[in-house]
């Protein structure tokens, strides 16, 4: 294995120009999982971002929370302001692995690993996150909801790094995150959903029910129209249109569809996340 260790973002972009095959590495909690069995990975070149200080910090601007390209779950969990203004970040982060992963794992790594089961992505997407991609050729901003193109396919060239993730600061009246795993902790999501409602409208984002984490436009429209939803089953037609779950080693398509309807229904009905006392800005 070959390791590149840039100390600035500029150096990092330059390294990716010179080594187009290099793989960025943040917490490595995804990259290293299959290390013992994937011999080809041992031959790779890695771009270790740990010494790039400017990627690490998150900050508040007047209109956004900006996470760095190697900001960890833990950093957000330990920041009372971030937890207060964006409570779903805290809720999701708490359910990612355990403390060992939370302190190493990053939001950007979660995004680029592109697992359909990623827990960080749904809440970021429900907050209308945009990602800033940089390379030696320049920079561009992509809404997270338009980032994924299919299973592990995304709008990112290999030479691009996530520099930042921007979450607009808004006032939310509904904020929901539900993770259904196969046990109480340390579980990969079998079905999950994040929901927000603000002046920008409804956002419903589901994970583990499609080739990538995805917005659910039919559900958003249904919620926007204030149609009567009196049982979980009333959500099923919209779910049918929005997602395409599969049977796999962890669960079944039927379970995922049904349980998505049920957790969403009860969360909305119980008014979870609604009327939370929050001082914003």
């Amino acid at each position: 294995m070959k390791l590149l260790l840039p100390t600035s973002l500029e150096e990092a972009c330059g390294a990716l120009k010179d080594h187009p095959q290099a793989i960025p590495m943040a917490g490595a909690t995804d990259l290293m999982v299959h290390w013992p069995s994937r011999f080809e990975a041992h031959e790779g070149t890695y771009l270790d971002l740990s010494a790039v200080e400017e990627l690490r910090q998150h900050r508040f601007t007047d209109d956004a929370l900006v996470l760095g390209g190697s900001t960890t779950y833990w950093q957000v969990m330990r920041d009372p302001r971030a937890s207060r203004e964006f409570p779903l970040l805290l809720e999701a982060a708490r359910q990612v692995g355990a403390v060992q992963i939370q302190t190493r794992g990053t939001w950007a790594g979660n995004i680029v690993n592109a697992s359909p089961a990623a827990d960080g992505v749904p809440v970021l997407m429900a907050y209308d996150a945009e990602i800033e991609l940089v390379s030696h050729r320049g920079e561009e901003t992509v809404p997270l909801s338009e980032f994924y193109l299919g299973y592990k396919k995304m709008r990112r060239r290999p030479d691009q790094l996530i520099r930042a993730i921007r979450l607009p600061r808004r006032s939310y009246e509904v904020e929901i995150f539900e993770k259904v795993g196969s046990r109480q902790a340390q579980a990969i999501t079998k079905v999950g959903v994040a929901v927000t409602h603000s002046e920008a409208g409804w956002r419903v984002v589901a994970n583990s029910v499609a080739a990538s984490v995805c917005r659910c436009p039919a559900l958003e429209a249904l919620l926007g129209h204030d149609l009567p939803v009196t049982t979980p089953d009333h959500l099923l037609p919209a779910i049918e249109r929005d997602v395409s779950p599969i049977d796999d080693i962890r669960s079944t398509a039927e379970y995922r569809r049904k349980v998505l309807a049920r957790v969403l229904f009860w969360a909305l009905k119980e008014g979870r996340g609604r009327n939370r006392e929050r001082a914003r800005r």
Binding site: P36, H42, I249, R262
Partner: protein, 729 residues
């Protein structure tokens, strides 16, 4: 007394086999079959590896019989041109680099001319699938008491039920691993294991060597649960073959993926009950058919089946019982020993069925059990008259009291009526577990323990019984210290090494504290006698006597010996399965309270009470730990642990996707002990290692049945299964 090796484990100083640093040691790897059944047509060695550097061992390198000696000589050490399951070991490789040897293993391609495999043990095999005898049955057992046919024919009510349980992975913390080396003509194998003398026996056959040319040493073992009962014999042989060919020490350590995929698991089961009951709930006849999936080789399946059969009728009095058990071949990775050893499977069926019967009768399941629980003087299904002085009704009552069973049951009615998506239920199981080897097994084992009196006045217990986290070292110390009247610090426990300790039998079957512990006591008595000490003489007198003896016998060893003798009056007929199946039984009632979340169809155990009569508690902390650990393993088996199969091989062979409970998934487990000393167990103890594996699953399934008013028959009760239960009316 605190666990003697506890601090070393807690601080990470304990050295497991993978921690041993051995000069010049090479790494081994195993090349496995990609196919479930067929002839090996060709083996290709990939060009990306420099094969001159790699030692390759095949079945042709086995000096003795190519078999892992156990019950039947059917399982080859290395496949000889034919495979019967995926992951069957075909070749072994060794190289100085662990990385290179893994790459080399991945670079071997084995081509198999596939033949028709069997994967579903419940479906009778076709003619071209027959691979053992003429029906693929490794074993059939029949146990009969009274006249079941006429009792069934004349009964007012016959209740039927079919119950299924899944495979279970042991998930010992430490994976399987061995290191082997040869020195002065002696082949030594050292590693993680429960039964050093089983390994020695296997080496005797396959390596064709005399006992004095072989040595087996146990390293501190990070959990076994039965998974290190018979399986280590194979991996030990592999390490030995590699060292013989490589001419240097070789380590063979499985990683988690290989361990989960290629090693044994608990036998999946299907059990059918037909029970004749009187209107007042009396059991008139029990007809039970047990079918176990044995996998591709026999391993220990016949004895697992035997325990399943003997426990199948539960701790109840019934005059007419007929149990037929079958263990059938499939082309799955072989199933093997696992804590409980067949009893959890048949007791799941029995105890779930008791609730089904109660439901049919419209009777409280507590009353049904109370009516039928064995009273002293009554006999079990094998005709064994139980007269151990235990009040089994008291065990039940204690559990009901400790769990506030009645109050909770009432509270749940209100709860379930007012909650929208949460449902609660409480359920129980009353059960038993026979301790020690079945029938005449202990007599055949002929176990021996030595206690050596050392010149410095200390004593050393020498036994092949292993510590694997359950407390052997600690309780043996307690027994020896108490019996000799010395400080625990003056008791040494010899590490299990076949060149140094006698064969005290395998560390299995809940026998170590009860049976072998008693031999420790006998060996102490013998030592005392050889020293001419009175029964009152302790500490200082012993030291003095030892000093004297050694002064008079320079360079000699003074050994007290304890040899197994069957308790008087034990009679067992191995042909007819009649008589005293076990010297002693532990008796228990477990109560589970569950909550089902109807949003996610997830059942969670919210409270658990485990009450048992175990003769005598030897070490409170260890005993409690055994019970709580067993209950957690039972919760996993009941609700979440599920092996997913493809072509007879486990495909979710990672801890990411094979779901065991975390501490968040486990409720407080409240443990109660009752003591009626067993006169032939050490200090009155009976075995408890396996008992706690038997009760949780049926108690939990019964609680789920109550919570949902449904009738679950299959475990694990995963959310997906609970969904179909709820959705189908």
């Amino acid at each position: 007394m605190k666990r003697r090796e506890g601090l070393a484990k807690l601080t990470g100083r304990e050295r497991y086999v993978d921690d041993l640093v051995i000069e010049g040691c090479w790494w081994g790897a195993t090349v496995r079959s990609p196919a479930a059944r067929g002839k090996i047509r060709e083996i290709r060695f990939g060009e990306e590896v420099d094969w001159n550097e790699v030692v390759v061992v095949s079945h042709e390198d086995v000096p003795g019989k190519n078999t892992i000696a156990l019950m039947e000589e059917d399982q080859p050490v290395l496949a000889a041109g034919y495979v019967r399951h995926i992951h069957e070991a075909v070749l072994l490789l060794a190289h100085p680099s662990r990385d290179v040897v893994r790459r080399a293993a991945a670079a071997v391609e084995i081509e198999v001319e596939e033949e028709s495999p069997v994967f579903d043990f419940r479906v009778p095999p076709e003619a071209d699938q027959i691979q053992y005898s003429d029906d693929n049955l490794f074993k059939r057992l029949l146990m009969e008491k009274g006249d079941v046919a006429s009792a069934l024919a004349s009964a007012p009510l016959v209740v039927e039920g079919v119950y299924e349980t899944g495979a279970q992975e042991h998930v010992y913390l430490e994976n399987q691993g061995m290191v082997a080396w040869e020195e002065d003509g002696v082949v030594s194998v050292q590693g993680s294991m429960q039964c050093p003398y089983y390994v020695l026996k296997a080496m005797r056959e396959a390596l064709a060597r005399d006992d004095h040319q072989m040595r087996v040493i146990q390293t501190p073992t990070g959990g076994g649960f039965g998974g290190k009962e018979e399986f280590p014999s194979g991996i030990a042989l592999h390490a030995a073959l590699l060292t013989l060919k490589a001419g240097r020490p070789v380590k063979l350590i499985y990683d988690r993926g290989e361990d989960m995929a290629a090693t044994t698991k608990r036998h999946p089961s299907r059990v059918r009950h037909r029970t004749a009951v009187a209107e007042d709930g009396r059991l008139l006849a029990q007809e039970i058919d047990i079918l176990l999936d044995a996998g591709a080789y026999m391993t220990l399946s016949p004895v697992v089946l035997s325990r399943a059969v003997i426990h199948a009728a539960g701790p109840y009095s019934c005059d007419n019982v007929r149990v037929e058990g079958k263990a059938i071949l499939t082309n799955a990775v072989p199933f093997g020993a696992f804590r409980g050893f067949g009893a959890p499977q048949s007791l799941f069926a029995c105890e779930r069925h008791m609730d089904v019967i109660a439901q049919r009768l419209g009777m409280d399941p507590l009353r049904l059990r109370r009516r039928n629980l064995l009273r002293d003087g009554q006999s079990t299904a094998t005709g064994q008259v139980i007269e151990d002085g235990t009040d089994r009704l008291e065990v039940l009552d204690r559990a009901l009291e400790l769990s506030s069973f009645h109050q909770k049951r009432r509270a749940h009615i209100t709860f379930n009526g007012s909650e929208t998506f949460r449902r609660r239920g409480i359920g129980l199981a009353t059960f038993h577990h026979g301790a020690g080897f079945t029938g005449s097994g202990e007599v055949y084992l002929d176990s021996v323990v030595h206690v050596a009196g050392l010149p410095d006045g200390r004593i050393e217990v020498r036994a092949a019984s292993t510590e694997m986290g359950q407390g052997t070292i600690t309780v043996f110390t307690q027994f020896a210290a108490d019996r000799m009247g010395v400080d625990p610090e003056d008791v040494l426990i010899a590490p299990p090494d076949t060149s140094k300790v006698p064969d005290s039998g395998p560390t299995v079957a809940s026998r170590t504290t009860m049976v072998v512990g008693h031999l420790v006591e006998k060996a102490c008595d013998d030592l005392r006698e050889k020293l001419g000490l009175s029964p009152q003489a302790t500490g200082a007198a012993l030291r003095e006597a030892l000093g004297h003896w050694h002064a008079g016998h320079p360079d000699q060893e003074l050994l007290g010996e304890g040899r197994y003798e069957a308790p008087p009056g034990i009679v067992w007929d191995d042909e007819k399965y009649r008589g005293d199946a076990y010297g002693a039984y532990g008796w228990a009632t477990y109560v589970a309270e569950v909550e089902v979340d109807l949003r996610t169809y997830t059942a969670r155990v919210v409270d658990f009470v485990a009450v048992q009569e175990i003769g005598k508690v030897i070490n409170e902390v260890l005993a409690r730990g055994q019970i709580q650990g067993g209950v957690v393993q039972g919760i996993g088996w009941a609700l979440m642990e599920e092996c997913k199969w493809r072509d007879g091989a486990m495909v979710n062979n990672q801890l990411t996707n094979y779901i065991i409970p975390t501490s968040d998934d486990v409720p407080p487990i409240r443990v109660g002990f009752l003591e009626t000393p067993y006169p032939h167990g050490a200090q009155g103890a009976k075995g408890i290692g396996e008992l706690p594996m038997d009760g949780p699953a049926p108690a939990i399934a019964n609680a789920v049945a109550v919570a949902l008013n449904k009738d679950p028959r299959v475990i694990p009760l995963t959310p997906e299964r609970i969904m179909s239960l709820v959705e189908t009316s």
